[in-house]
Symmetry: C2
Subunit: 437 residues, 2 copies
């Protein structure tokens, strides 16, 4: 990650962190590696992408694959009964060598989770609000959050007469409906997974359904879509409660209810969701999560219900980088003043000025040679977006004055009251707007 | 790392980052793993502590051992000729299983480096100033920065008649002089490393020297300690220049010139330094670095001189944590308002209030049950240091008013102009000072 990218990353992470903190989350930090056994069996097919450490003695370790399983392990190990936490850190995936690029093997996730006993759908509503706030504040364009419920998927599979044991494999086909037509998915279900035409026909009646929460809930109620299937009807009532909460939180316009959403991971038990940017050229999932009531119990035996979301921000970085380049409003450094000199061997004099600036909290630089050409120093200021230059030469030193040049308007000033006047200039010239001639 | 520790870590890192940025450094981020061959041969004996990843196909990778070698690799690979960068991230050491504790296997380093052609000792002076500013701003007590020069060590070994090939092993003995008496070190040099008594006697004449820069430089000059040894005398002149720069930067009182300082890593070529806290019970190295002019060239063939420092902040975290506990002034979260309710099924009403607060940037929480006892909510506010509670009940909703309780003075107010008045209250009540009765 180069300096410009780092500056963008820092800005994006600051926005995300602020939303997490605004919602009362504390930060926890788990190690980059977990015991291999901690990760084993939590990711289904994706397990093959886990990076293992070499056995050099000690425990068998793997790099974390996401931040959710390490969080569950942490809650269980510390016998925590309630926590709302965030964690912004990198996770690691051993991707196919031919695709090997830095950002696919290691990338940031920004996770927000609420663990502990709670009433139905209250934490879920807050998590969705958090996602809406973050994507709005990042200003990355329009987005939509698709939602569904693991319990609907369970019900649907039962209602279609499919074998429960095939839950995972059927869901993995259905999940492709955002990219592929039903005909293709149906072909796979029948020919690769052994479903009957009758089963797929019934399945299609369910998974084709999507729309606004209001439409969908009305439809499911009025058409009595689930008959007397108990789990499905209970889930419907829960979704109606979620609808009310999201209305109170003014988020409904960002939500799309989609029966074909069936995220991959094994550990979800209730609501699931996935956020996607919807503007052309920006399509792609950028956040996902759901309720996972049994994961923490896998480590401690004591079930602690939990719900969370994970925001993957690499795509967001790319969008913000393109935007910053277009607007030219991001700098890699924050320097406000370049301390420059005319004449040889002025390093001591430059350091004295720098020292005063640094001690007073002013962001200042001086170049690292003792015989500098003025033009080189001017170019340095322009290249690095530094708006002010303090020039020192033998005349200035002899006269005991400090000369500053404001690059934005070419004005030169002799300062009387050094630090207060510099502080004023820094406030008046937050960025460099002029160009080098 | 638990939430309180994370809050302290965040505060400490913010202080360090600000100093780096005040000195014009940009941030770069290198991957957590490097090719195994990149790290091989850079760390001498410590190489055995490098964590390797399992060979699962693809490249052979190791976790980064420090941030310096990855930085050198980055500069070389991107053909950068000049850069001043910082990087705050974790590094990994495969420590002895019996010592295995999270913080010894993975810990933060905060690195600041200046790479590129420069005049003698100018970048070194700035790096030392950066360390002084950081340790001062962190407010962790008194400290001293020991300095020495690799070129003095080379000269001393020559002047004592030792074999140059034994440089590393002699330095590793000499480096123990901060913990062990000369007699013990001398015994090791003679009996384990094969030096003659004559050699160790000469060596002692050099390595016993330490003191303020002024004393030491005066001594070395007036006693003509190095005779006509060219490298030593050139180095002395460079150190005299550094002395001037540090005087201009007002840092001399923190510097101790110590001929026995001989940091372990192979790659240093000039000035070396190590910062230590000097108050009782706080002893231990917390920062170190030096000039490494040949490391970047090991990756690209093109030598780019560089100098840097690495601050290890785990010990600083511990000090700050003890201090925060004593002063009770650190919270794990930043919540300003708890939205509480009296009566059942008020989640929608609480969410409506929260929504308005969040949309206006106020840090607010509400609990996750729909039937909450008032006392439980009050306890939650006290436990989490939340200074304000908004109470809603059927009476308030019917009357269309918002009641807020200021815990610090037990005052209750009914707000007319909701958000502006809340913003005012948040400013007036930045922390919770009252205790639960």
């Amino acid at each position: 990650m180069n300096p410009l990218q780092s500056a963008i990353k820092e800005k994006a992470i600051a926005i995300i962190k602020q939303v997490f903190q605004k919602h009362g989350a504390s930060e926890i930090d788990t190690p980059v590696f977990e015991r291999k056994e901690t990760l084993t069996g939590k990711y289904g097919e994706e397990s093959k992408l886990i990076y293992d450490l070499e056995d050099q003695g000690g425990e068998l370790l793997s790099l974390r694959y996401d931040l959710t399983v390490p969080f569950a392990r942490y809650v269980a190990e510390n016998a925590i009964s309630n926590i709302k936490r965030f964690h912004i850190a990198k996770v690691y995936r051993r991707d196919q060598p031919q695709m090997t690029k830095g950002r696919f093997r290691e990338f940031y996730q920004c996770d927000f989770d609420i663990a502990g006993q709670s009433s139905v759908m209250i934490p879920e509503a807050e998590v969705l609000k958090v996602v809406v706030e973050i994507l709005t504040n990042l200003d990355v364009g329009n987005f939509v959050i698709k939602i569904n419920n693991r319990k609907f998927l369970d019900s649907i599979i039962e209602l279609s007469g499919c074998d429960k044991a095939q839950f995972k494999t059927i869901c993995s086909s259905v999940d492709k409906l955002d990219k592929e037509p039903w005909e293709k998915v149906e072909h796979e279900l029948i020919h690769a997974k052994g479903l009957t035409k009758d089963m797929t026909t019934k399945l299609w009646e369910f998974v084709k359904r999507k729309g606004s929460m209001k439409e969908m809930l009305d439809q499911l109620r009025s058409e009595n879509v689930f008959g007397d299937h108990q789990l499905a009807n209970e889930t419907l009532a829960e979704m109606e409660l979620l609808y009310q909460y999201l209305e109170s939180l003014d988020c409904l316009d960002k939500i799309s209810f989609d029966f074909s959403l069936a995220r991959g991971l094994d550990y979800y038990t209730g609501l699931i969701y996935e956020a996607t940017l919807t503007e052309e050229g920006k399509v792609g999932s950028i956040a996902g999560g759901g309720r996972y009531d049994e994961l923490i119990g896998m480590f401690s035996g004591q079930n602690i219900p939990a719900v969370g979301v994970s925001i993957g921000i690499e795509r967001i970085f790319v969008i913000l980088e393109d935007k910053a380049k277009a607007e030219q409003n991001i700098r890699a450094t924050k320097t406000q003043v370049l301390v420059a000199s005319i004449g040889k061997n002025m390093a001591n004099e430059r350091f004295k000025i720098c020292n005063t600036l640094w001690n007073n909290g002013i962001y200042a630089e001086t170049m690292y040679n003792d015989n500098l050409k003025p033009q080189k120093q001017i170019s340095y200021a322009f290249t690095n977006g530094i708006p002010l230059i303090i020039w020192i030469g033998e005349d200035e030193i002899a006269a005991g004055v400090i000369k500053v040049k404001i690059l934005n308007n070419k004005e030169e000033r002799f300062l009387k009251d050094f630090i207060p006047e510099m502080q004023q200039l820094v406030v008046e010239n937050p960025v460099l707007t002029a160009k080098e001639e």
